[in-house]
């Protein structure tokens, strides 16, 4: 299996009562809370941690796009990706992703991704996302009912822009261009494409029809995610589509330490900060038209593996550190325990691409760096056998080869 280094680029100096006093940490959080100088320092910390991970055997460094939120100060992940493309050597650069419906003309995304693929020597993974309701409908004002159509039109345009040898005209419903002739083109002939989703069957069809990698990027852990991930695989099997586990990306918070007591001491506050400082106003999370009727039905009828009370306590930071661990929100403990728990997770949910969240909330940099070292040197090498025989067309060849060359048998390439 493969490992993708990730952190929500949280603002690390929120007032302690932020989560209790703001109506929403999305769309309308008071901008005065974030000191731009501190934001700059936070960016440097996240970059240092990712550069460290590149030297420890991670298969990619993953960035996401969010707007108007203290949870993730990455409205343009491509800017940070450019820094990484120029300062790292082995790992792929995963954009997970760019919210296609927000850019007009969407050839801007085709251009920037091609630039990143060129700059990194063919190490780009192109994650493309609808974007959360908060990002798309509210921060960028896209009518929710148009979002999916805009996304798919943009996706088709971008893929053509990468492939067509000659300039072409594009007469879409939302974008019209007389001359599409993207410069530069990506280094990779087939840039790997990931589409994270939230369990909508329409997205599963697109992912299966086009042989993309699907992703379920929640922070609610295995127990809560199992019905959606399992639902994807049941559906994929019923469609006769590719069951390769490398077609599933999944996010997991990791807290590695020398002992379980140390893990609790080092990570507990930061984990609670991560969950409790992120209140999302209900109207920003569920605008009408964002989910299709079939997606709403699927959500309403899907088995709930967690009580509403547990869920509420989790988002308020009111679970104990080990309750978070037990429910799968986090995987914490010694490298041995973490290895065993990740193995269970990856095997049971058929996950080939694990997005390891190595920094949470206001975790001190030195703890995150230690998390990197312990997980990178003592966990990743032992988990390479999981799904190790499966072909992986969803990460770049260049990064597979470089990680394998540097970190040995079983890393990067199928055995």
């Amino acid at each position: 299996m493969k490992f993708h280094w990730f952190a929500q680029h949280y603002y690390t100096k929120l007032p302690q009562d932020f989560g209790d006093t703001v109506r929403s940490s999305w769309v309308t959080p008071p901008a005065s809370v974030a000191d731009p100088t501190q934001v700059g320092e936070d960016y440097h910390m996240y970059l240092r941690l990712m550069q460290q991970a590149d030297g420890l055997g991670w298969d990619s460094l993953l960035l996401n796009e969010h707007h108007q939120t203290s949870l993730a100060m990455t409205p343009s992940p491509n800017l940070l990706a450019a820094v990484l493309a120029a300062t790292t050597e082995n790992a792929a650069i995963t954009l997970c992703g760019n919210s296609l419906a927000l850019y007009n003309p969407p050839v801007r995304v085709a251009e920037e991704m091609a630039m990143l693929d060129a700059l990194s020597g063919g190490r780009l993974i192109a994650g493309i996302v609808f974007g959360t309701p908060m990002d798309t409908a509210f921060s960028y004002g896209v009518p929710p009912i148009e979002l999916r159509e805009r996304f798919h039109e943009a996706r088709e345009l971008i893929l053509r822009a990468w492939r067509e040898p000659e300039p072409f005209a594009f007469n879409g419903k939302y974008t019209q261009l007389r001359y599409v002739n993207t410069w530069p083109r990506p280094v990779q002939d087939d840039v790997p494409i990931w589409i994270p989703g939230s369990g909508s069957p329409e997205t599963w069809d697109v992912v299966n029809d086009n042989d993309y990698c699907y992703g379920y990027l929640s922070f609610s852990g295995k127990q809560s995610a199992a019905p959606i991930v399992g639902g994807f695989w049941d559906y994929t099997q019923s469609q006769g589509a590719d069951m390769n586990p490398n077609r599933m990306a999944f996010t997991q918070i990791i807290c590695t330490a020398d002992s379980e007591a140390e893990a609790e001491r080092q990570y507990s506050d930061a984990v609670k900060y991560f969950y409790r400082q992120n209140p999302t106003a209900i109207e920003f999370a569920t605008p009408p038209g964002y989910n299709t009727p079939s997606a709403i039905k699927a959500n309403l009828t899907r088995a709930k593996t967690q009580s509403a009370e547990e869920r509420l306590k989790a988002t308020r930071g009111e679970l104990s550190f080990w309750e978070y661990d037990e429910l799968g929100y986090i995987i914490a403990g010694t490298p041995e325990r973490v290895e065993q728990r990740v193995r269970e997770l990856a095997t049971e949910l058929r996950i080939g691409q694990l997005i390891t969240c190595m920094h949470v909330g206001d975790l001190p940099e030195e703890v995150a760096a230690q998390n990197n070292t312990l997980f990178g040197t003592q966990v990743i090498p032992k988990l390479r056998d999981v799904w190790g025989e499966e072909e992986d067309r969803w990460t770049p060849k260049v990064s597979q080869e470089r990680v394998a060359a540097k970190f040995g048998n079983g890393a990067g390439l199928p055995v």
Partner: protein, 257 residues
């Protein structure tokens, strides 16, 4: 169910509530839902033929995906009215239906005899920004009504014993369709076209509407060449519900006059 095939646009299956006989009246419902056979519609139908289609994308009416913009909606209603074989019709449009009614009056002056706009969306006033009609549910509910919200709002929703989620899906689908024309701001350029309306127009407005301050109604009156204001006190976004008598009187007096 009426089926309309509009060449190069699409196919629409439209649910039409119809009652009464006499002069035809087209009623276009608001952004939340079709009111079903609400009291005010039945009273309007006492001396005329009321035709109240459910907007494509709402309830059981289909075809919203075929609309590229609000001009398509106006042309759709022109086709629908012509399909009834009438050569002229009075039009009452409420809320989002008011935006559509005004657009119809612009593109089909030969069809629209008299126009009534009721707490209509379609304009934006920089000095009086209207609140988000898709905002927090309790805030929207409080804004809509002058007094206490009624226990049940007029609706054409019919519970489905086999589908416990039918009400959620009904509301999500209706409001989702409204976002096509009202998100993020319910302004699709109507201001530039209102001066082209020929029809005599009555602008009815529940003056306590927290979603649309009275200034919006006054702006409609200012921009439409032959328009006057009929404010209804002690009513919010639904004056036909909160002040049914006053509403019906104002509308019928105007249409008869």
């Amino acid at each position: 169910m009426t089926t309309l095939e509009i060449p190069h646009v699409g196919r629409f299956d439209v649910q039409v509530w119809e009652s009464g006989s006499g002069e035809p009246l087209l009623y276009l419902h608001g952004y939340e839902r079709h009111p079903g056979g609400a009291g005010f519609l039945r009273r309007l139908a006492e001396d005329r033929r009321v035709l109240a289609p459910e907007q494509p994308g709402y309830g059981r009416s289909t075809g919203v995906e075929s609309f590229t913009d609000v001009l398509d909606v106006a042309l759709f209603y022109r086709e629908l009215v012509e399909s009834w074989g009438v050569d002229g019709i009075d039009v009452v449009g409420h809320s989002l239906g008011g935006m559509f009614a005004a657009e119809l009056a612009v593109v089909a002056p030969h069809l629209v005899r008299k126009l009534v706009l009721v707490n209509a969306f379609g304009l934006w006033l920089e000095e009086q920004p209207a609140p988000d009609p898709f905002g927090a549910a309790d805030e929207v509910k409080a804004a809509k009504w002058h007094g206490e919200a009624p226990k049940s709002e007029p609706t054409n929703f019919e519970p489905d014993p086999d589908d416990p989620h039918a009400a959620i899906l009904f509301a999500a689908q209706n409001l989702g369709s409204a976002t096509k024309f009202m998100w993020p701001i319910a302004d699709r350029g109507l201001r530039r076209r209102l001066p082209l309306i020929d029809a005599p127009t009555l602008v009815v407005h529940g003056t306590s509407d927290g979603l649309l301050p009275l200034a919006y109604a006054e702006e409609f009156v200012r921009l439409i060449p032959d328009a006057r204001l009929a404010p209804i006190e002690r009513a919010g976004h639904y004056p036909m519900v909160e002040r049914e008598d006053e509403f019906v009187t104002a509308v019928t007096d105007f249409l008869k006059g």
